[in-house]
Structures are given as structure tokens and as C-alpha cells.
Amino acid sequence: MTTTPPSPSAPPKQAETPALAEHKREFIETFFKRGAELTEELIRENERLRQRVVELEASTRGGSEAPHDYAARLLEIERENNNLANLFVASQALHSAVELGELASVLVEILLNFVGAKTFAIQLVDEERGILRTLVSEGVERSDVPQPSIGNAALVGPMRGEALLPTGPLRARPVTAAPMVCVPLKLGEKIVGIIAVWELLLQKTELADVDFELFKLLGDHAGSALQSARLGAELKGRPLALWGAVDLV
């Protein structure tokens, strides 16, 4: 497969002033800082509740109450705590990456280590050509990832903002087939790209509860993190369309 040559072009809304871009950037940073603070608070609260369950369990040990209820609750809280930690770390990493290359690495790390995806790609909408261009891939060479047209039948749902997140056991697919998981990357109402997964790690047979939350986080925030990185590049005098990021990574 041949690699599409770079095609620098102006973004659709090029008239944006540096002041407006800075304002947008400040807003995005403030928004996600508050999000991180809220997550930290939730984790602290979860820890407090976990301790409380341990205390209650200890106080009822030997009594007539059923300790297995507390044990089950403790397990549930542990699971919730684990999920929150994943989301907190992923969110923090996503929004602390300011360079496009760094952001691409963070996205790969989250999908590989946190979700357990083995073969996947992040593709951005190239509005000029009407195709998806590969920003970064794992488990397959970037140049071997198909760059489908935006009108591709498998992309109808994702391009409308609907994530393809199946439940139950998943089977690996070749990258020439439609991905088993496909999550739109949103920037407000606009779809700026997708996460496509074709295979999970050997030990991972299906998506877990936290994976749905992680994909939601990535779908809702990765687009704005990419936009933020693009604005950063623009402020440094390197204007480019969002999909033009693929030429910088």
C-alpha cells in the first residue's frame, strides 16, 4: 500500500485570531484541570468509604451479621477505586500532553496498557480528501492501515458519533476488515477522527466496564486534546489542519 503524501492545507476555520485561540486553549486547560480535581476528590472519597467498610467489617466480625456482604461491598469499592484510578491517570496524561507526538504516544499507551488493545489505530478525518488518515498505529505498520473513505459503510455509525463497543467475547480481525471496536473522536458536535481496534491482547477476551469509560473519555476528550495541540503548533507559527497532525508524528 502506498503512503499518501503530505498535503498541507488551511483548516476550515483559519480566520481564528491568536487571542481567540489562546482563549480557547485557556478554557480547555481550565476545564480539564477541574475535571482532574473532581476525579481526585472522588478517589479520596472512595478511599474513605473503603476504610469505613473495613472498619464496619471489623466491628461486626464474630457477630450475627453476614460479613460476606461487607466483603462483596469491599470488592465492589476496590473495583470502583481501580477504575477511577485508571480514568484519573488517563485523563491527566491526555491533557498534560501539549505536543502532537507526545499526545499520540499517550493515546497508544492508554489503549495498549489500560484497555489491553493489541492492534489498533487512531485516524483523523481529512476533510479535503474525504478519507481517514492514520495518525498513529500499534501492532501494525502505519502505512499498512487502510485509510477508508468517510462514507465507508462500516463508518456510518461512528461518523454520526455512535461508538461501536460490543459486549461479550471478541475475536481478532485483520486490519483489512472493519474494526471490532470503533470510537468516534469528538470536538464538540464534530467528528474529527476515530479509534479503530482490530485485536485485543491474548489475555483480554472482552471489554471490561472500565474500558467503556476509558473509550468514552478518549472519545470525548482526545479530539479536544488534539485540537489543543494543533492550536499550540499554530501559536508557534506552524498552522495546520487538525488531520495535518498525521504529518507531524
Binding site: N82, V89, Q92, A93, N113, V115, K204, A208
Partner: protein, 122 residues
């Protein structure tokens, strides 16, 4: 106070492991980004447990385990492997080299915490 060394090239994964280990009371944590970085820290600091990834640049986790087990001053330190490699032969190879425990990613924090506590007899 026991000290753990976390060896992982991915900053986000490292942060997640450190985040989990902070829930082990009294455990302090030092981070290294690859095997060579880890050996440098092992030369100057005393560690009670090591948690390492396998796939890392410069020096991978299996080479690190081999170096640790062949060093009289270090070979007693328990090692936990945390990796994306889920094949049974990978697990057997790591355990044969001297790793104490093998955990596959994505990790569950309670599992990591339980193994650390078990190996440190906390």
C-alpha cells in the same frame, strides 16, 4: 520502611502502578524508565521489591531480571513482572529467569497490591 522500584518505560503506566502502590501503607516508591536506569538506581539505593515491565528500550525486563539474579547483592530481591505479553511461554521464561510473579496488563490494582504485600510479608 520498605522501598519498591517500578521499572516501566510508559509514563502513564508507571503512574498507574505508583498510584496503586501508594495504597500500601509505609511503602516508598522509586521509578526507573528502563533496565539500565533501574540498575543505576539499584547500585545506589536498597530496594525491597522490584516491579518491572518486559518490553522496554535500552534494556528489557528479562535482561534486568537476569542481571539481578546473577548479582549476589541483589539476587534476594523479589521481582514482579508486569507485561502485555500474555502467552504461557513468556510467563514460563520469566519465571525460569527468576521472576517471582508474573502479572499481565491491563492490571488490576488490588492484584498488584496483594502480590506486593505477599512478597514483602506485610
Amino acid at each position: 520502611m520498605p522501598t519498591a522500584l517500578v521499572v516501566e518505560d510508559s509514563p502513564t503506566m508507571r503512574q498507574l502502578i505508583v498510584f496503586a502502590l501508594h495504597r500500601v501503607k509505609g511503602l516508598s516508591v522509586v521509578e526507573a524508565r528502563d533496565g539500565v536506569d533501574a540498575l543505576g538506581k539499584l547500585a545506589t539505593t536498597t530496594f525491597d521489591i522490584i516491579l518491572t515491565d518486559i518490553n522496554m528500550p535500552i534494556m528489557d525486563g528479562l535482561k534486568l531480571v537476569r542481571r539481578i539474579r546473577s548479582d549476589d547483592a541483589l539476587k534476594h530481591i523479589p521481582v514482579i513482572i508486569i507485561t502485555t505479553e500474555g502467552a504461557e511461554e513468556d510467563r514460563q521464561r520469566a519465571l525460569a529467569l527468576g521472576a517471582n510473579t508474573y502479572i499481565t496488563k491491563p492490571i488490576q490494582a488490588p492484584q498488584v497490591i496483594a502480590k506486593v504485600k505477599e512478597l514483602l510479608a506485610l
